[in-house]
């Protein structure tokens, strides 16, 4: 570990389920093994397939003990998704670690749950520029965009392998041979081109950010959304107590009262989304959002 020399090289590959994290780590592990290294590759299955984060540790050297990489000991972090890269970045070696990331975002539904006016997705706000300043070497590339231009966005993991190949000392043909033997026969050619493109891009310097990245991670919208006063009016005579609004309110702030009429029980939770009003078959609910006039300076 940190206080003694260790010839083991540590590569951590991270992303989201379905992106091909395991393919990247299998290619690397096979390459290392063919080169005569002891190799351990460790991943955790299970929930990963269902849109959660996926990570795979690849360690190689004369003799590898632990299957997992200790925190702060990662030589190269390969992130197939931007926020997943940020999740693991503190595992990089502070002085010598290399960060390779696809700048594309995969925003989970969990990040789009706030119905308050002006709410932005709860996605990592850090920009490539501020991250790359803090790592020893870093490549933030539009791997998905490059792969899509070649005809298949799914080959983004091979683009990243191309970038990874510039940091490790294995010959280019060895990479290409193992990739060709790993991917389905019909996508051998596109993966070969994706690898070459990723490799060529990363040879352009030790700290590079693709222009697309800056566009994708621009500061949140400048649009101003005035706060509003929300009034929910329910016409009791028209309400037949069908319960639809109560059951479908995303904030669960409505209920049926003793007379089986809908009422706003928890006004503080109401975001003024109007869903109840749109769903009410009896047009008994009216939601009014009045902008609050801000006092003049």
């Amino acid at each position: 570990m940190a206080d003694k020399p260790n010839a083991t090289k540590n590569v951590l590959i991270v992303g989201v389920g379905g992106q091909g994290v395991i393919m990247v780590s299998k290619v690397l592990a096979q390459l290392c093994q063919a080169d005569g290294h002891d190799v351990k590759q460790s991943e955790v299955h299970g929930m990963a397939k269902r849109g959660g984060g996926v990570f795979s540790h690849v360690r190689f050297g004369p003799k590898v003990w632990s299957p997992t990489i200790p925190e702060g000991e990662v030589d190269i972090l390969v992130a197939l998704e931007w926020a997943e890269g940020l999740r693991w970045i503190k595992h990089l070696k502070p002085d010598t670690g290399t960060f390779i990331a696809d700048c594309q975002k995969i925003v989970p539904p969990f990040a789009c749950r706030n119905r308050k006016r002006g709410a932005e997705p709860a996605y990592a706000p850090q920009t490539p520029e501020e991250i790359i300043d803090q790592v020893h070497a870093g490549y933030v590339m539009d791997a998905t965009g490059m792969a899509a231009n070649l005809g298949n966005a799914k080959a983004s993991n091979t683009v990243l392998l191309g970038a990874l190949s510039t940091v490790l000392e294995f010959p280019e043909d060895a990479w290409q041979d193992i990739i060709a033997g790993t991917v389905p026969p019909k996508s051998v050619e596109i993966n070969a081109r994706a690898f070459a493109e990723g490799r060529a891009w990363a040879q352009g310097g030790e700290k590079r950010i693709d222009v697309t990245a800056s566009g994708l991670h621009k500061a949140h919208s400048e649009v101003h959304h005035p706060q509003v006063d929300t009034v929910v009016e329910i016409t009791a005579e028209w309400c037949k107590g069908c319960d639809i609004c109560v059951k479908m309110c995303p904030e669960r702030c409505l209920r049926l009262n003793g007379q089986l009429k809908a009422e706003l029980a928890l006004p503080d939770l109401c975001t003024g989304c109007q869903l109840c009003s749109w769903l009410c078959p009896d047009m008994a609910i009216k939601v009014t959002n009045t902008p609050i006039t801000e006092p003049a300076e």
Partner: protein, 606 residues
């Protein structure tokens, strides 16, 4: 995993070759090399791939099958052992709870053909409901437990376990953990042993556990344990690695690799068998050092045994009793014990990572079921499967989840308690229902419980990666087999109110559930649509949101569908919604919920 993929991952490679294998692949190879003839299992993370890989070896070498549950699988293996061939079963740790009934008696009986049980624990609870330590089961059943530390040992220990089983007339555990099962390393392969079957042992005093026989066999078991204890002090399973210093480490399994990572030069007693413990070897090792530190994941099984032997062992004072170990945790433990400097925590990045919980897939047929349940405002007893994910927002509709098959009888108990004002619903998947849902459903009918059972039939064992079961019409090797008809099965148990409903028709689904809940007594609703991932990945034409029509009401976002995110456009201060066409499979649930008819299939280009 499809049948074709299985063939690809486990072809019988020639002996002598080294190839990268996960711990699970290596265990499967060990089973095949040992000349095992019959193998049975029920899928369960992290053990599932063992049986999938066993099925990659030729059918004429080994019969491999999915069983309906772990006890059934154990009993199939026991039957094969009775019949004189080597037999194998694999399960996750909680599967052992199901299989334990048969195990406890079979320990008394012993084997004819060798019987090996691979049990995979899940320290850290990556995909389970608890993190119990299966070594305690081995001690409880008084059978040996082997703990490999890497892929090579996984193969060799598994193969050797069969011989050990036959020599000592005992079932044998091979214990793995998630980390070993799912770590790939180079494994040198061997050839398959030629095992000619033995004849059935016509010995009722050994094979039939009536009280008189069992009393005598208990003594045999105790004597067996004494003989094993003596043998294990000289066995190659356990080894002393001499080192520098007077602090000796006793460890086993995956923690051994962390010990070597942290203290490569310390004297180590590596235990390949953690029950029974090699008394003489441990005493000699302890006498050779000033301090003994035990490094073991989960329970202090070794440490407590050492203390009972009168050895002043240290262990859980420095290392946690819960969670998965890592090189960092073992380093911290050694630092606490004064053997290492504390780790430097100079992480330059200080920000909280974004939350990305696992979700039901885009188009998952369970989505509409839980949307409807949420709207029903029912008290829902959940079960084990992908659908446990409905415990979180936005579907947030299950209230309890205990163990495989628990939901139905939990619902019976809730109903009989008489305290619940909400309708009571049990949700259970097709595979889980066949595993252990049928007896409780009979129980519910028998005792006239006022509950609704919602069978979520997605035609596969989905959570573990898509395994066949008796409801799919295919066996583990992909051969056709009779298919359980859930509708007829449920009717035959005496349920009067049974309805089948299309999971992609949310209005009918909700109506069927309302009617079922209104029915007095047991009612059953069966939702019917295949899993979108297995056995074939379903991908229909994607839907799109017409941005000019979207009023940002976010009703579709209540589905929690991973294909739905916010677009850059706004309506009255809220983001409009967009659909990722690559992720969308065209199930149309969002379109059915849309309040402004803004969601339609992507128009074909003219």
């Amino acid at each position: 995993m499809s049948h074709a993929q299985r063939q690809e991952t486990a072809e019988p490679t020639a002996a002598g070759a080294a190839r990268p294998m996960t711990g699970n692949e290596a265990i499967a190879r060990g089973v095949w090399e040992a000349g095992c003839k019959v193998a049975a299992a029920y899928p369960g993370t992290p053990s599932t791939e063992i049986m999938e890989n066993v099925a990659g070896y030729p059918a004429e070498d080994i019969h491999a099958q999915w069983s309906t549950n772990e006890k059934t699988a154990m009993d199939v293996a026991i039957g094969a052992s009775f019949a004189g061939v080597r037999a194998f079963t694999a399960m996750k740790h909680v599967g052992m709870n199901v299989a334990a009934d048969a195990l406890m008696s079979f320990s008394y009986i012993g084997v004819n053909g060798g019987l090996v049980i691979a049990v995979c624990d899940d320290p850290g609870i990556h995909s389970s409901q608890n993190e119990q330590d299966s070594r305690i089961y081995a001690r409880f059943a008084q059978v040996p437990v082997l703990e490999p530390s890497d892929g090579q040992e996984a193969l060799e220990f598994t193969r050797a376990a069969f011989a050990l089983s036959e020599k000592y007339d005992t079932p044998v555990f091979v214990r793995s953990t998630t980390r070993l099962s799912h770590t790939r390393s180079a494994v040198v392969l061997g050839a398959r042993e030629d095992q000619t079957g033995r004849a059935f042992h016509d010995l009722p005093a050994k094979n039939v556990m009536i009280p008189a026989h069992a009393r005598r066999q208990h003594g045999v078991v105790l004597e067996r344990e004494r003989r094993l204890t003596e043998m294990l002090s000289d066995s190659p399973f356990n080894r002393v690695e001499p080192g520098q210093g007077k602090v000796g480490i006793i460890t086993s399994g995956i923690p051994y690799t962390y010990v070597k990572e942290c203290l490569p030069d310390a004297p180590v007693l590596k235990l390949g068998v953690t029950w029974p413990l090699p008394d003489r070897l441990i005493r000699d090792f302890a006498a050779s050092v000033d301090r003994v530190i035990v490094v073991e994941e989960l329970e202090p099984l070794i440490e407590d045994a050492l203390k009972a032997m009168g050895i002043a062992a240290e262990g859980k004072a420095y290392f946690p009793r819960e969670g998965e170990f890592s090189p960092e945790i073992v380093h911290d433990g050694f630092a606490n014990a004064g053997l290492m400097d504390p780790r430097s925590n100079a992480a330059p990045f200080e920000f909280a990572p974004m939350v990305r919980p696992p979700v039901l897939c885009a188009g998952c047929p369970h989505t509409s079921c839980f949307m409807a349940l949420r709207a029903l405002d029912a008290r829902v007893a959940g079960d084990i499967g992908c659908y446990t994910l409905a415990v979180v927002e936005p579907l947030k509709s299950i209230d309890t989840c205990v163990a495989m098959g628990s939901s139905i009888a939990n619902a019976v108990g809730m109903a009989k308690a008489g305290t619940e004002t909400k309708p009571i619903v049990a949700t259970i998947g097709d595979s889980t229902f066949l595993h252990s849902g049928i007896p409780p459903l009979i129980d519910a009918v028998y005792n006239n419980a006022d509950i609704t059972v919602f069978i979520l039939d997605n035609h596969i064992t989905a959570m573990t990666g898509g395994q066949d079961h008796p409801g799919t019409g295919r066996t583990l090797r992909g051969e056709p087999s009779p298919r359980v008809d859930f509708f007829e099965l449920v009717k035959s148990l005496g349920v009067k109110h049974v309805h089948k409903v299309d999971s992609y028709d949310i209005a009918t689904m909700q109506q069927q559930l309302r009617e079922a809940v209104a029915h007095k007594g047991v009612s059953v609703v069966i939702s019917d649509r295949p899993c979108v991932l297995d056995p074939v990945k379903i991908k229909g034409p994607a839907m799109e949101v017409a941005q000019e029509s979207c009023i940002a009401c976010q009703a579709c976002m209540n589905l929690g569908c991973p294909a739905l995110t916010w677009s850059e456009e706004w309506h009255e201060g809220r983001h409009k919604v967009q659909i990722d066409p690559d992720a969308c499979i065209g199930c149309s649930l969002c379109a059915q919920l849309c309040t402004s008819h803004a969601i339609k299939p992507i128009a074909e280009p003219a």
